[in-house]
Symmetry: C2
Subunit: 152 residues, 2 copies
Amino acid sequence: MSAALTETDRRFLRLAYDQAKLGYEEGGCPIGSVLAEGDRLIAAGRNRRVQEGDPIAHGEMDCLRRAGRQKSYRRMTLYTSLSPCMMCTGTILQFGIPRVVIGEAQNFAGNPDFLRQHGVEVLVADDADCVALMRRFIAEKPELWAEDIAED
Amino acid sequence: MSAALTETDRRFLRLAYDQAKLGYEEGGCPIGSVLAEGDRLIAAGRNRRVQEGDPIAHGEMDCLRRAGRQKSYRRMTLYTSLSPCMMCTGTILQFGIPRVVIGEAQNFAGNPDFLRQHGVEVLVADDADCVALMRRFIAEKPELWAEDIAED
């Protein structure tokens, strides 16, 4: 962790968790995301692989899609309940998002070091609720989780 | 180029170009993509940033979305009229797609070496029609192209 989370960070990370929880209740992969510029919410999204049959709709991707076309991401922060996979990592770099706040990286390590190597500020909150929700999902639906991260 | 394109490769790359051309005629970014397993077409797609107001809908992403949920990508080839950006590169790696055929890498270099470093077979066709269509688009709509690759 390169710095402490602000109150705004904690608020938006909670919103990402709420999205994850909603995804869980829908029978999907419980991963949520929020895009914000300072304290201004731009969009929220969640993994919709199951809900929409869409393999690219990871939480972060769904959030960025819902944000619509943006001229620049250079003052924005992307919040995600779970550490980003390589698809979402590549997207963060391609879009030039400078700051990422991650709920947890225990259930899935993701690529925080790769982001940092490319100049992205990455904070990992180690949020107990994010950890517990994801752990429960993986225990309940291991095949769905394997599909979501393309492990065969 | 690590090997020569097969007849099947040329056929699917042409289909990716046709998708790109359709995108151009719709007023969008002219980049098309095809997903196939051997000579079996799985899906075709094109960049729909303009058409659907969707910033993650690059050609490759739209194609993968339209392919729907797949148990495994390990015998598939992804065709794309233009060299993949970092979002699409990360997605190819995350999904475990082992082979990528690129129409051209002159108008946008993309990340073929990064893909190769991670074990993906990458072929670049240097297709004259792909080059010409993309060159025409960039000359006509430089702002839209800058937006699509998040250059501000």
